[in-house]
Amino acid sequence: MWINMGPQHPMTHGLWNLRVRIDGELILDVDPEMGYLHRGIEKISEDRHYNEIITLMDRTCYVAGMAWETLFVLGAEQALHVTPPERAEWIRVLSEEIQRLGSHIMWYAAFVQDLGLMSPFLYGMRDRDLLLDLLQSYTGARMTYEYNRVGGVRNDLPSGFTDRARKVCDWLEDRFREYDALCLGSAIFHKRCDGLGVLKAADCVRLGVTGPMLRSAGVKRDLRKDRPYSAYDRVDFDVAVAEGGDVTGRYLVRMEEMRQSVRIVRQALDWLDRNPGPCLAENLPRWLGAPYAPVGREGYLLRRNYPKGLGFSAIEEPHGEALAYVVNEGVEHPYRVKLKSPIFVNLSAAKEYLVGYRVADIPPIMGSVDICVGEVDR
């Protein structure tokens, strides 16, 4: 019997459809169907100024907008031959780690909800609010920030921010213990999650699965370490790795990543406290340097004779490795923007880690993949 789990179904966490063929409670076959949320972000990008594309990138993934902004901006900077000031790089690291914490806590909340745990869901949402407050205090928005700029970031941190952020870090480190107590401390959690949804390291590599799923299989790969961008080569942190490649492993990896993120946030805060300076590159072309891209005739008159370039960026997004390819043909909007979504790949491999388990296992397994359909469909 085929049943549709989606596109409107509590398991999906977004708008996609998992078709499942079952025999009683046993899963015989699955067929993930994506594309319900396709908004043509890549195509729209070809007709927009670089700084206008950033608003689209926020909407690529609604729980990790900052990461996707950073991804695009890194690619665009390379294509446009712009170098951001060092302070902007550190602010990007800070923003991205706060975003990673927010995204992982959101994952935690959704994942425990899939397991039937109700309280930790609320705890997660409560703690995520603190991170959103932090982001709001310097970007002005809670989800769609539009904060990065080609050549830096829009504005500097407000006064008193670093102290507030440190307080949040302290609070979170306490809460992580609580999270673990509620999950790892429960025998039912282990009964449900140990050895579930196993995807071995070789299969991960073969299928291109990245991020916490890959690391949970014991492969120590993190683009922040292996291909450092922004200021990640200057921060000290450990790559979270677990064994087994099962749901518990993914849980452990993400929890450890959150701890490491707090560590990185602290380092970035210290650096930002010590080193004031500009956070947006100077001498940018006017159509880049303006806070909002010029519109109308004037904007088009300003392009001409800008050097062409190709930009490729790869970042460790909260869900996995996100890649962007930006082609600059010398005009104020890119010729082509290509984004590679990690979740699209992780989701496409669903057959490998779902078949053979039970219907009741689908929510925790898919929850452990951490789906954000916005970026799957782009």
């Binding site: 425990v112 397991l115 039937g116 109700m118 309280s119 609320l122 009964k191 009741a360």
Partner: protein, 376 residues
């Protein structure tokens, strides 16, 4: 307190009303008003109405209690806006559901679709007439009231499966099958745990079981049976960690996926009625029902309706534990659930029967005292 029963009150009320009515209309034509059968029939109706109202209000308060308690467990406040501290929120919700259009899917079987929720609700309400909430609150001296209550309680899988099948929905069908399997699996340990209580008390009558706990409550010697019974009740009530039949993460709403409006309210209400019944049974069987131990100071146990008061306090405390469990445990999987049921709960329940037999043979326990002799 012994002379005053709920039925007596209802009977007196009806008799008073009808006699006065007949006094106003002293025509022989109206002589049927003081006919014994009419008085009895109307008294039973009033008795049933009072019981219905009491159980409904209790259930709605139970939902409020759960929402508030769950809110506190989750670091929030729960319902706050309708009435003081959200007391009337559930009435508002009920009214909203009542006003909603009841939609039947085109392919659903009308008979099962409409009859099942109604039967589920009625069968759940029926148990309240059997359970004595305090002395004089039952329908009368039923020598097998415990057995009758459990029999009616176990009608549920039939109705759930009926509704699940009639909805013509795959999620419902899976949920219904899970529910039937789960309830049948957990009925066995529940009954066995009850057998332990029955062996010790020597009676199937709930009133007798309560009076037999005058020296000590049964949860102390029969802790094992209590654990089995509570676990089984959690499964019967379909609450976390055993709420698989309506596991919303994978089966949308499980067996009541297609229901909306009042029919959904029937299911929701019945679930809480059953939760209330489960808590009642735990209190009656293991926590001394409406009695309090002798060391409780006199003023606390000698005021009007004190039995009912303490009974409800204990019930809500037991339900609070259920809410606590719900707030802190993930749900198990169907096969694990069935395995726990058949492989763990049944042997534990059998062991508790052995312990109960041992208790009856010894008769007296150190520190606790002796079992009262039957009828004493």
């Amino acid at each position: 307190m012994t002379g005053l029963t709920l039925y007596g009150v209802a009977n007196g009320l009806i008799q008073y009303l009808l006699t006065h009515l007949y006094g106003v209309l002293p025509h022989p034509y109206f002589a049927f008003l003081v006919n014994g059968a009419v008085v009895t029939g109307l008294s039973v109706l009033v008795f049933a109405a009072i019981l219905l109202g009491a159980s409904m209000i209790n259930t709605i308060m139970l939902i409020w209690f759960e929402r508030k308690l769950l809110g506190r467990f989750m670091d929030r406040r729960g319902a706050m806006h309708v009435g003081y501290a959200g007391l009337l929120q559930n009435f508002a919700d009920g009214l909203k559901l009542f006003r909603k259009h009841t939609y039947k899917p085109h392919d659903a079987d009308a008979l099962g679709f409409y009859v099942a929720p109604t039967a589920y609700l009625v069968s759940s309400l029926l148990i309240f007439a059997i359970l004595p909430a305090s002395t004089g609150w039952g329908a009368g001296a039923l020598p097998l009231s415990l057995l009758l209550a459990l029999v009616v309680f176990s009608f549920a899988p039939l109705f759930i499966f009926l509704s699940a099948w009639s909805q013509a929905n795959k999620y419902s069908l899976i949920g219904g099958m899970r529910s039937a399997a789960q309830m049948i699996a957990y009925e066995v340990p529940i009954l066995l745990a009850v057998v332990a209580v029955v062996i010790v008390s020597g009676s199937f009558d709930l009133t007798t079981i309560v009076t037999m706990q005058q020296n000590y409550w049964y949860w102390i010697p029969l802790l094992l049976a209590l654990v089995v019974f509570v676990t089984g009740m959690l499964a019967e009530m379909e609450r976390i960690p055993f709420d698989l039949p309506e596991a919303e993460a994978e089966l949308v709403e499980g067996w009541n996926t297609e229901y909306g409006g009042m029919l959904f309210a029937f299911f929701m209400l019945s679930d809480y009625l059953r939760a209330l019944i489960g808590s009642f049974l735990v209190v009656l069987l293991f926590f001394g029902g409406w009695t309090m131990p002798g060391w409780v100071p006199g003023p606390l146990t000698s005021f009007p309706l004190e039995g009912l008061f303490w009974f409800l306090v204990k019930t809500y405390a037991v339900f609070g534990v259920f809410v606590w469990i719900r707030a802190s445990l993930p749900r198990v999987r169907t096969d694990q659930l069935l395995r726990i049921g058949w492989m763990r709960m049944v042997p534990l329940a059998l062991l508790s029967i052995v312990l109960a037999v041992g208790l009856v043979l010894i008769r007296c326990l150190p520190l606790l005292g002796c079992l009262p002799s039957l009828g004493g």
